[in-house]
Symmetry: C2
DNA sequence: GTCTATAAATGGATAGAC
DNA sequence: GTCTATCCATTTATAGAC
């Protein structure tokens, strides 16, 4: 793995724990073991780092979306996989979801970053929309109203629960996911 | 209104827009029109300010909870009132919910603050639990599973949607609230 | 690519006068 | 309660050597 990727991965972690404004080049430098100036060599300004981070996350989200498309498992299994993947992101509740962290910091990031952030959220909503549509069509899932609106609700719930898990622990997240599943059962 | 309350109200606003680590005594000082040192006179350290802020928010939450208890409207109307109050908190989508902001910053606030933060969230979940229980008992609402678990889901959804509204606008929040209501209808 | 050194600005916090 | 002045630590960022 090259240095740039190493920095981006650590940045994601730092963002999840502290938030965008609360981690510093000094944090990155110490954990990686190179000087602050070296971090600046790879990402001149913090905004450059932030922008690269968002493109990095967007790329990952795109890859995952395609991956879901390729899976030949049932809609229900896809949804469960999606939930499990997200539950792993916050680990034991110490980390926030990076998207949550960025949305909380929306006022202190650049317009450019905000645009990509919105695109990432939309990618997830679109993915869940198609899973819900398939699930309902195949008689595996039950929900009222439009699939698109219900997908927005599912993503909101998941994000909200991921964040609440920071004070209420990861069992809170698991219970909320279970409740979502109970409500989606036919 | 006394100065302390004035500072606490502005702090709430700043927290909602920027987050706890991203607003400064200088921000407060400029907007109120007194010096930084004067802010320090009322709240010596930023942690004191943060703690006072959480007690301030908790007090407000307690008052609101009692208010809901006193209302002699239907469970359904109570739930709608609760949603409307929260929708007003984020205004046009520029502000985050203060609880969201603090949960995103959980790693940079004191343990004391975290404890109260958790209590506030629990107060809300308990309130919604009792509203849901009444609503189901009276045949006004439908949901599967325990009222307590569904209340956790409702609060998570609301918080998640409030935060998503920062990138997706307040219509996103309104739509998600509508979808929750559609799902709760008998 | 990495380092040391350093600049310039900001943030939290205190001393002491009025 | 409010002010000016000041301190110290941190943060972002750059210059220039290796």
């Amino acid at each position: 793995m090259d240095r740039k990727t190493e920095i981006l991965q650590l940045t994601t972690k730092m963002l999840q724990i502290k938030g965008f404004d609360s981690f510093s080049y000094s944090d990155l430098s110490q954990e990686i073991g190179i000087s602050k100036a070296s971090i600046h060599h790879h990402f001149k300004r913090k905004e450059d780092l932030g922008l690269a981070l968002l493109l990095f996350i967007k790329e990952g989200t795109l890859k995952r979306t395609e991956h879901f498309h390729d899976l030949d498992t049932s809609p229900w299994e896809k949804l469960e996989t999606f939930f499990n993947m997200n539950a792993r992101v916050v680990e034991n509740g110490t980390k926030n979801c990076p998207i949550n962290a960025l949305q909380a910091n929306v006022a202190v990031i650049s317009t450019e970053m905000r645009v990509i952030l919105k695109e990432i959220v939309q990618l997830e909503i679109d993915l869940i929309t198609s899973i819900l549509e398939d699930g309902r069509k195949e008689g595996q899932m039950f929900f009222k109203g439009k699939a698109n609106n219900h997908a927005a609700l599912v993503v909101s719930t998941l994000r909200g629960a991921m964040q609440q898990s920071r004070t209420h622990g990861h069992t809170f997240l698991n219970q909320t996911i279970e409740q979502m599943k109970i409500n989606l059962k036919v």
